[in-house]
Assembly symmetry: C2
Homo-oligomer: 383 residues x 2
Amino acid sequence: MKTAVLGFGTVGAGIYEILKTAEGLEPGPVYVRRGKADEPWKTDDFDAILADPSVGAVAEAMGGLEPTFDFARRTLESGRHFVTANKMLVAEHGIELQAIADRTGGAFLFSAACGGGVPLLHNLALARRGDEIRRVRGILNGTTNYMLDRMQSCGMDYGEALKEAQALGYAEADPTADVSGLDALRKIRLAAAVAFGILPDGCLNEGIENVSVEDIRFYQSKGLVLRLIAKTARTESGVSAYVEPVLFPQNAPEAAVSLNNNLASYEGRFCGRISFSGQGAGRWPTASAVIRDLENILSGARRMLPERTVSAAADNGGEKQRYYLRLPEAFAESFPEAEPPEAGAADGELRLVTKPISVAGMHALAAEIRQKGGRISFAALEE
Amino acid sequence: MKTAVLGFGTVGAGIYEILKTAEGLEPGPVYVRRGKADEPWKTDDFDAILADPSVGAVAEAMGGLEPTFDFARRTLESGRHFVTANKMLVAEHGIELQAIADRTGGAFLFSAACGGGVPLLHNLALARRGDEIRRVRGILNGTTNYMLDRMQSCGMDYGEALKEAQALGYAEADPTADVSGLDALRKIRLAAAVAFGILPDGCLNEGIENVSVEDIRFYQSKGLVLRLIAKTARTESGVSAYVEPVLFPQNAPEAAVSLNNNLASYEGRFCGRISFSGQGAGRWPTASAVIRDLENILSGARRMLPERTVSAAADNGGEKQRYYLRLPEAFAESFPEAEPPEAGAADGELRLVTKPISVAGMHALAAEIRQKGGRISFAALEE
């Protein structure tokens, strides 16, 4: 199957390279920006790609919504297959693109958009048809895992860890999407759509920006390892979806995820908990996930989104957990039932462990405290 | 797709149950032994199953080679799909069954035969088409992992751990296939066939029968965790395939595999190392793997074995590793280059660490020592 590649950056160039050797696949034209078509196999004319009847599929690695959404729509309208690593595109327009694919018989797959090289989504899409998926969760952002790992294993502070992650190319110059948990949240929303047929909106994300090296040291003294976890689960009225720091015992599989690796798990009624781990980003892992989707299309796969997938508000009010907190003494009254202060906080601050409290409740209280100028750091306790 | 089930034991009954709710699937007749057809949907007449044109696939959970091979052959000859959890059947007759499937258009899948619920084989079958798989390895026997975990976390001796595993139904009354590493070896041979198109013969297996609780304590004092690992890899002249105890640092993902869980990894040129973990046995995990294969058939999957898969002798002479040894002093001369004895051995015994030595060499030396009546325990050092 001749496959055109949109974009020739890190991932696009990787896809183009693997297409040369992958079974049943071959590279088609590569779309680049106007004026960048410096090789005969590159083009800056998308119409020319669709006019070539030998092109059977298009793999997108440009990122962004424009002109990618237009290109995706037109690829699928033409009856061709469309594969993407672009999580924003799927979150914004996935349901609409799947509807076009259903109409024209094209495939719409996006394994690389969640977990990079980690084969979560296509396994989830397969598992949900024979099982009843209850929850999906994981370490879905390699940048923040790298930073937390370095803070925990080398005692680096947040700023040093971020600088190192940037020097290694793991973190962008503007790292906000990573450290705020937004990148992981986008990925878990896609996993929710694949697992439950519901693309949740209005989710919650607490990142690692408020985690200090003192917090890490305190957690370590309790035998706990901190990871940034994205979660989604079926609830009574829909699905939950959120990102927050979580504390694990040292022998938990999550604690063994080092550097910028990812780990994702799903839990089914029949299969129990199944976990996947590997490289969550980078040229070759991400490109190999795109190739895997294309091979899957050759085997007959056509979709990841369940039929009748809808968008709906996330329900984060149900599940309750205990949280470790660090906050100014003045705000302790916000948690009247929390356990007596533990040692380990700086002057004027307290460390507390809450009673079980809903995710929505905890994130709302933290937002309220921050609005009043209080600095709070929190992490859920995995029990 | 109406699916007949062969066998109504632990796994067969699970498959039958899940077929009732899985998307696109429904339970067909269940084949049981003569005289055991005590329900209208059970039959002891295999011909009647093949005579039913509404049956599109057969799922086998009887075990053994007779009459399963005959049933598999006839199912595929009839153009139907055949799915099995039977590793012996695939190892003995898989290449022949695949040839029939290729001729008739039927699918032949056996995900549940390696790793139980852990989705290794179908991911490997997909990955190998777009990537170059270099090695596959894993904890593929839950019984021995349970025993090692109990010996390490609770200080149980080998006999106590075995008794507990038997009481919980993890180990058979005759546990030989598990504790000798033979069960794990059968599974990794299938993984080699799927990954490399070569089903290796004449492989090596060292199990855990020679591991004492004193060995475990000694390894723990060095910060090492013992796991029984099955490995296969491409070598210069073919593929290696063997099972042996391996020592990991405490923060390795393998060390975090608790109780009777499994963990399997493959390493590709492009994708890097990707790992899968979950329940390796039991009714629901194994049945859900069989269902996953059936769902995969509905998506278009037809095979796991690469075209032109052949059988060939394993090549275990290439890769070299260091080994920890415990052996009688009298046999120390078999390892002239091993490092000076360390503390921790009983009277008349030595503990040594070898220089890098080939897997074939180590297993041969151990066999020689045992033939002369010496008791040797060895474990490779993961470096």
